[in-house]
Amino acid sequence: MRFLDYIRSAFKNLSRQKSRTFLTVSAITVGSLSVILMVSLLTGIRTSLMDLLISMDAFSLVTVTPDPDALEGGGGGLITSGNGGPLSSDAKKLDDAALATLRALPNVVDATPIGSGIWMEAMRLENETKKMWPSLIAYEPETKVFQMPIQTGRKLTSLDMDKIVVGSRFLKTYGYTDHPQDILGKKVVFIMKMGGSAPDWGELPEKPPTNADKEWWDAQNDKERLITAEIIGVAENSAFDDNQNYINIAWAQRLMTQVRWEWDDSARKACEEQSQRERRPVDCASQNTLTLMKDDQYTKNGYGSIILKADNPDNLKTISAAVAAKGYGVSTAEDMVEEMNKVFLGIGTVLGIIGGIALFVAAIGIINTMVMATYERIREIGVMRACGATRATIRHLFTFEAAMLGFWGGVFGLLLSILIGKIGTKIVDRYATDIPIPIDQIAQFPWWLVTGVLAFTTLIGVLSGLYPAVRAARLNPVDALRYE
């Protein structure tokens, strides 16, 4: 028999028992559906993450963090926050000296300090009531580290102080998506609550009166300090980081510098000593003076992280090793991708097992259907043998039928999952514009997935058909013809 004859015959025989064929195929459909959806979802998310990293030129960047241990076991993002927090004893300070050293490493083209997590309650557009979760990244804008694409307005310079480049989420939140140029020149208000102290920008904190009590300090705690920044540009960022807003690190350093009044009792003590020495009672209490204290976080604790740009992505490993040798923590996009792959492998394994069980059950369905078919067609097998069919021909006939069940299961699984992907994208698009997932790629169906699924379900069919086919081929033709 020829290949086409097998297919024709399989088709004809399967259409004899339409409902049974339908049920068997739907079991395979459900099994393959779960496998396809999981793979396409994972690829979709993975691809967009990779796109993001590539668009950020992340594969030529090395992130240096103060703590060599903190990143072990993963969790470090490309742009790590974390400043001012307690550092472990192994941590090394990422100050300007460190920046200079790192910048001088071989293969490093440039370096920028990164500051994030600036003390802030919330931020909003001036004259608007809707507040946004603060998300600020401070960096040295005139380095070659980031190619920050700007969709409208201009980029930051190292002289910009109270200027901000907002992310595209900002446009969405305040309804400027269709006319982003109109947001330029508007002000962003940072709402800060710092108790009795203030950042080294804008008004000084109120001097505490000599009789400052708890009530006065409580009032200070509730006091909102408003810092304004002029919007000079809108970043062209991807859906993952569209909530990020950017400022110059020099300004961030001012904002991160805590200014407060402190009592200076040296004059009073001098006065008291003098009065004791001279045995002359003097009221020294009024000699207390207030001194303005400045506490520069970046100088004291160092920057949150430093990002280095390599001359060539191939040199990332060399740079990482050099940085690690100096006792800093180090992470690259490759580390991130590795972490990502580990997570995806975990999720994939769990979903794979679920899909595998579904397909296994479906395979048993095929075996059942085919065993039934061989029983029903014993006489027919006898006739075919009498007409010149070899054992191999009979075996192939039944194997083709089983393979076809698997194949159609794969086809319907694919069609259904593409449909579900489309519907899912529509729903997510309509109701969840704020979640940070790139929606246009929520499920992907690359050619290797399509062919892989069809090959896999067909293979399942072939394997399930093996036993019934061999059974059918083994039948003695004389007994088969006599079978009632």
């Binding site: 015959s9 075919m384 009498a386 007409c387």
Partner: protein
């Protein structure tokens, strides 16, 4: 020429050996029309199956045109059945979901013939048995006699050397039986096909050129 030498076939039934065929020697010349009769269980069907290559003897040898069947393996035997033998069954054994034409095409498919050639040849065969106007009918839409004629057309498809008909008229009335026998006689006379008919019906046996009777696995 078909030759059987000392052919035996033994079945075991409850520990007792039963000879379906016991040292049978038989020669059938090309173009013969042979009727085999005998009581039920005498071994006539076994004889026919062995000649047709569906069954193999336990001892002895069968040669067809000097080629031995006894030692042949599945592939060779299947090829032999496909090219040299046409089977006609008492209960027709047609595919219920196939049309008459498709049923006749079955042995041609196993012969790896082109689809167009298959259709052409199957049409010819149906015309030979007088069913040129029933080609698109399924077995359920045909009478018993017509079904048996489809079965003969299928047996004829690959231009076989012989047609083996096991009780071809067992399920038919007298008139239809006569029709089938006359078709077989025609094939024998016009195409020179060797016909081996197993039958209980003395009228069918009476039409054959030769007749032999089997009892207890032996030719009398």
């Amino acid at each position: 020429m078909i030759e059987l030498k000392n052919v035996s076939k033994v079945y075991e039934l409850g520990g007792e050996k039963i000879y379906a065929l016991n040292r049978v020697n038989l020669t059938i010349a090309d173009g013969d029309f042979l009727a085999i009769t005998g009581p039920s269980g005498s071994g006539k069907s076994t004889l026919a199956n062995i000649i047709g290559g569906l069954d193999t003897p336990d001892s002895g040898d069968v040669t067809v045109d000097d080629q031995s069947l006894a030692e042949a393996h599945d592939r060779a035997l299947s090829h032999y059945r496909n090219k040299m033998v046409g089977f006609v069954f008492q209960n027709f054994n047609l595919q219920p979901n196939y049309t008459a034409l498709e049923n006749v095409m079955v042995p041609l498919t196993f012969a790896k013939m082109d689809l167009a050639d298959r259709k052409k040849r199957a049409t010819e065969c149906l015309k030979i048995v007088g069913l040129g106007d029933r080609m698109k009918h399924r077995p359920g839409e045909l009478s018993g006699g017509q079904r048996q004629r489809v079965c003969i057309a299928r047996a004829l498809a690959n231009n076989p050397k012989m047609i083996i008909a096991d009780e071809p008229t067992g399920n038919l009335d007298t008139k239809k039986s006569a029709e089938i026998v006359s078709i077989l006689k025609d094939l024998n006379r016009k195409l020179g096909v060797t016909i081996i008919v197993i039958t209980h019906d003395p009228r069918v046996a009476g039409e054959a050129k030769k007749k032999l009777t089997i009892t207890d696995g032996k030719i009398r």
